[in-house]
Symmetry: C2
Subunit: 411 residues, 2 copies
């Protein structure tokens, strides 16, 4: 017997038939002798409609009223799923955020979960009842409904799993697990049986958007074991195992490189012939930070004449703002020219095995060189090495690295 | 300065444009120096969709989950209206039933309001803020969302008006007031400046469905002054006065007959040659009551041979059930034949003036006789006289009575 939190996203509960399917799947876990709580999102499309109404009334709408409106989507789903479960003989009841309560701060629209007392839910589960909890929502210090931001239902599920001390948090989604890379680019990509929290964070932040980043951070902090699996491919009697996201100690076989990720969301900025003097980096990056422009990769090439070329990347959407800020501060920074290029891609290899093994990156550089791919910028962290290449090389680079690190499936 | 509760139904908030219109109307009351609270229904069509989903999942759905689902409609409207009000400079905030709280019993789907502490709302209104309250919903003793039944938003508005000691509860609807009769039948029907609670109850229960009956009962009990007015015909600067529903003491000029109502929702049942003995009425009406069949008008004609003909009316929808029950108890009741007729209409004259004046009904019988309309059953109460006639005479009878009591508008 295990205690499991099952989370279903919007496409999994998009209509009554799918809600019935979800109910059937929950019943299988209950029939197998498990204690189960369920967390659900709004029916697909609902939240977008509600957000649109708020925006049409006012682009500067009150975030507290926005939360009141958009939180209704999940409220509908929990009632319908509870009915669907009862209809097939499973004792179930719905829980809104304020009823548990899921206490959050008052940052409406992107609230942070502060406290969940799991005792009531644990008691219900022990009685054989399935709590059906509204994802994405909580209640703020002033007793108003809050929402946790987009993808917040993953966060709700992990937080509930921590509160009820669940053995596992199963996140049902439209992919059946976490792959070594994007299968649309590499058909021989393999589903990973398990990845470490840290790896998942790096994979998510560079484009493998299976789980909301904050939910992985919370899972890591609270040591909640996550399983990612498909809500569509499973058939009664033959559940497909998904991918576990767990503490690295649980992962027996740690490959050097777990996966290859990519992102086309960045743009490159180069400032030519900046005076090479102390404090110049602060002069460049201070104003960008003040303007809420996130800077990612940074490289600096020293010239012989006391100047330097500074290259860095920013989010593609932030590029116009970054240009404006830098032009405004041009007199202080004193660069000779600014060159920007949105046609770049960031390719990353990720793996906790890199911590203890040197020379992992050398394989990367060699593999890219063999394909004639020029590396524009390099950045590294403890478990990740990223390179910036021309956008047109994205697929070629991903495939080359996937093969070079022995990640291709056999056959 | 007055303290006013304004209530808007589903068609008045059916889309964003209408919500903006409602906001503008609220602003006019605020700008006139009044303290205002607003009660709103779900956007037209929303509740029906939510109800349909519950029914499709199970006809025997858990009423607590049903309430969780259908209460979301009002929650969307309060958030959107609060945003619309803020956008035009009116300080506003939304209130769900559990936040005030509006405490009800646990009769989910048709809960009864038990207690509303108006102090918080009164405090907000005194600060110049407009509370926007979700109609139709409350919170039960076990902290679960309850709904008050169809038309429950009227009830919410009256209950809130009582709790905040409002000077008036303005119910905006798709008609502009209460008429002496249905204007579709009598074009010269007049809008009544004021009707007494008791009259409104009789008018509502016989077909003038402007206000939910329970809300009028509550208004009468709590002495809440209601105004019924149109949400569509009003133009800035020239508000159309609606009809007041108030204590009869407030009505200066009390006509003998205030209005003529009709209902086509009843069917006639006659049991022929029933033994005329004590307890026979209990034998007939006991089983009907046990089967939840409401009996309305009753008349008994004594025969010379120790038998009697019993005639009564039941709701048209209940007729098949009534027939089944009576056939089942035929041996005990011992009637010779049962004759039923759904092609009947109940025509009623209503007026508190009837209390103190005899002979009012005589005018009715004479007017109908002059038109050759046969009266099948008569029933009277303190402020109402009803007759049952053939359904094909409905319009003719209503017009004849409207003229006979001098209710036709001049011109």
């Amino acid at each position: 017997m295990a205690r499991i939190v099952m989370k279903f996203g919007g496409t999994s509960v998009a209509d009554l038939d799918r809600i019935r399917n979800v109910a059937a799947r929950v019943k299988r876990e209950v029939d197998a002798g498990n204690e189960v709580a369920v967390v659900v999102s709004a029916m697909a499309g609902t939240t977008n409609q509600l957000v649109k109404w708020c925006q049409e009334l006012s682009l500067l709408h009150d975030a507290r009223e926005y939360d009141t409106v958009v939180a209704t989507g999940e409220q509908v789903t929990i009632g319908l799923l509870a009915i669907a479960l009862q209809t097939i003989g499973v004792d179930a009841r719905s829980w809104q955020g304020w009823q548990i309560p899921i206490r959050t701060d008052d940052a409406h629209g992107k609230a942070r979960v502060e406290e969940i007392d799991g005792q009531v839910l644990i008691g219900r589960m022990a009685m054989g009842q399935v709590p059906v909890v509204a994802g994405f929502q909580g209640v703020g210090p002033d007793n108003r409904v809050t929402t946790l931001g987009r993808g917040g239902s993953d966060l709700s599920a992990v937080a509930i799993a921590a509160a009820v001390k669940a053995d596992r948090c199963d996140i049902y989604t439209d992919v059946d697990g976490i792959y070594t890379t994007d299968p649309r680019i590499v058909p021989r990509a393999r589903k990973l049986p398990a990845v470490a929290y840290e790896e998942m964070l790096e994979l998510a932040s560079v484009g493998a958007k299976v789980l909301q980043t904050r939910s992985v951070e919370l899972a890591m902090k609270q040591r909640v074991r996550i399983q990612v699996l498909s809500s569509f491919e499973d058939k009664p009697g033959e559940p497909l195992p998904g991918s576990l996201v767990v503490d690295e100690d649980e992962i027996v076989e740690q490959p050097l490189v777990t996966g290859v990720a990519y992102s086309r969301d960045e743009a490159k900025v180069t400032l030519r012939r900046v005076p090479d003097k102390p404090g110049i980096a602060a002069l460049v990056f201070g104003p960008l930070s003040a303007a809420n422009v996130n800077v990612d990769m940074i490289v600096q090439n020293l010239g012989a004449d006391g100047t330097t070329d500074m290259t860095f990347t920013v989010g593609k959407a932030d590029l116009p703002r970054a240009r404006d800020v830098l032009e405004k501060f041009r007199p202080e920074i004193n660069f000779e020219a600014m060159v920007t290029d949105p046609e770049v891609a960031k390719i990353s290899i990720v793996g906790i095995g890199m911590r203890s093994h040197a020379g992992v990156a050398a394989t990367m550089f060699k593999a890219l060189a063999e394909k004639g791919i020029n590396i524009q910028v390099i950045s590294t962290s403890e478990i990740k090495t990223s390179v910036l290449v021309g956008a047109e090389y994205t697929e070629l680079a991903v495939r080359a690295l996937h093969s070079a690190y022995g990640l291709d499936a056999e056959g």
